[in-house]
Symmetry: C2
Subunit: 360 residues, 2 copies
């Protein structure tokens, strides 16, 4: 167990880092934040901010040396940065392996399949040829995604027919992609789990996630799905964490098919937007359990006390209080200066009732 007063380093300075930093402070830790932005949300609740780029191996190494443990708030940390941290001798959790797998959609899907987790049919696409072959296999339609650096719907294109193939290929930069078959799912849910240093896991209730323009807008808990299916989603997420010898919180997104089958979509090796309701609704929230995990502390229970709805506050929505604020709504704002269109500025959590079931 990392003693209270130790320093936890976070790569990345956004809202996830900010909420992690507050959770770390609750447990008596100091937080150092590393990111290239000059005034990031997380730095304003941290003991120290190192403002440098992820390619600056010297700065990264010095940063890591001043920390007792280093973790991340986003998965696109360059491999070289992860290596620089590892070279410092300071433990890096969840670690380079999970990041490397999560950064590359082809690696990710291959890994999920290799550990027996079902995903929608997919193909590697390295050339225009590959794309056309893949489309043929999938009946002429599919979802093309860049292998790297996609998030919130960026770096992907729906291909409805072979006629769209060329423009999609060019729009995404004619670079390494994956093609997924278009899946007719009922709804999307996510498995949220924390795995401790000693291997114990806790899983929160899977939320029902609703997206708009590729961005999560709303999560309802519990997802309106057979509790057995929710239990399976928890079990599969735990299975993934164990397969990677993961330490910390991860989120695994699923498509739920009409017959209840679960197809894994992608995972995030970090705390996740679809788990932002956990501090308000559960015995322990995702941010605190991530900190406990990377610090080698025992995890807190994920027991849920309330049914809730989490709504993201995007762009200018941040300029007025959310509906119900002052009654049943808990508000979190991220301290971002400018309320730009499409920018996640905060979220609200509304308690919709006592938990219908403690486990799902």
């Amino acid at each position: 167990m990392l003693p209270a007063g130790s320093v936890i380093g976070i790569l990345g300075g956004g809202q996830l880092g900010r909420m992690l930093a507050c959770a770390a402070a609750k447990l008596g830790f100091d937080v150092h934040v590393y990111c290239p932005e000059t005034a990031p949300p997380a730095a304003r609740v941290a003991a120290r901010h190192v403002c440098a780029g992820y390619e600056d191996a010297v700065a990264l190494r010095n940063f890591a040396k001043a920390c007792d443990i280093v973790t991340v708030e986003f998965e696109n940390v360059p491999a070289a940065a992860a290596e620089a941290v590892a070279a410092s001798g300071t433990p890096f959790r969840p670690g380079a392996k999970a990041l490397a797998v999560a950064q590359d959609r082809a690696e990710e899907k291959a890994f999920l399949e290799s550990v027996g987790i079902a995903v929608a049919d997919w193909r590697r696409v390295d050339t225009r040829e590959d794309l056309l072959n893949g489309l043929q296999a999938f009946g002429g339609a599919g979802l093309l995604k860049t292998r790297r650096e996609g998030y919130d719907g960026k770096g992907q294109a729906v291909i409805a027919s072979r006629a769209d193939a060329d423009s999609a290929w060019e729009d995404l930069g004619a670079r390494a992609c994956v093609l997924e078959t278009l899946v007719e799912f009922d709804l999307e849910i996510s498995g949220l789990v924390a795995r401790g240093l000693s291997g114990e896991c806790v899983a929160w209730t899977p939320p029902h996630n609703m997206h708009s323009e590729g961005m999560l807008r709303r999560s309802r808990v519990p997802a309106p799905v057979d509790p057995q299916v929710l239990g399976q989603a928890q079990d599969i997420s735990v299975q993934l964490a164990e397969a990677m010898d993961y330490v910390g919180v991860l989120a695994l997104e699923f498509f739920v098919m009409a017959d209840g089958q679960l197809l894994a979509n992608e995972f995030a090796p970090r705390v996740h937007n679809s788990g932002h309701w956990t501090p308000e609704a559960c015995a322990t929230g995702q941010f605190e359990n991530h900190i406990r995990a990377v610090a080698g502390w025992p995890l807190g229970r994920a027991e849920r006390f309330h049914d809730v709805e989490m709504i993201n506050i995007v762009g200018q929505e941040a300029l007025r209080p959310p509906a119900g604020f002052g009654t049943d709504v808990s508000l979190t704002l991220y301290g971002k200066g400018e309320a730009r269109a499409g920018r996640k500025m905060g979220h609200s959590v509304r308690r919709t009732g006592p938990a219908r079931s403690r486990t799902a």
Copy 2:
């Protein structure tokens, strides 16, 4: 309403300031901390720390000018410091009046009585003569307290008989005191209320507070008292907040007599140790509602979802995890370096069951 992104200044850098700073961050505010200590707990979760003394009017004024609102985490802010902040033009909440009253036990008792709140019989003691006269009136025994600068049992002496009078008087420095009659109470509770800028109030369930060596060690919620008496404690606390045109959270301590009568003991014009369970157990915790109040935001509900027990972690108790950590216990540590004897290092909150009643 102070817009998100505004700066909230806090005078004082201890654990109350630290928890206020995290609550402010949740709502999107930046926090500046002012205190003379070089590495205080609150500064490590704040955007800025001004390290200067409370007698430094220039530093205080500059600090206040950089803030949109200034509040406090302790009541013993010198009057001159409060004036320096007020002179800056930046709103100071709860404000100089409440601080002045709370700093002086004679002023405090006189004020409570003036607004119709019952207190134990007491006398002003400016001289040894006053003390002897007071003891005579109280049957030879009493509790002698310095008018100023007492906390956690410091600055007070129990006088069991007239023979103790001289040594008590000398021990406390032969300075202005109050003498209270010794009260045979059943238990101690506290009224915790928040009052918003527009005058609305919310009251949390009064906890049962257990002290040891003058320091709060344990609060149980709800206090094992007739719910009508708990309601009265809430009402009286609201009455006090209204009488002072108070903005923010205050705590009013009561003795509960065998017949259910309430005698006010003292109040704290700030968030209070006996309310540290509110973030875990209630729709809104005391730290968030204090920030909402001083920022002119609508208050959140104090509705309570759990019965709880809060235990202070003192001195070397901080070196091992509390009993039950990892199951039903939420832990908060304050980030204080040295676990000195008698130093409040953190607290634990144990959920003991669902709330027996939502109001008491």
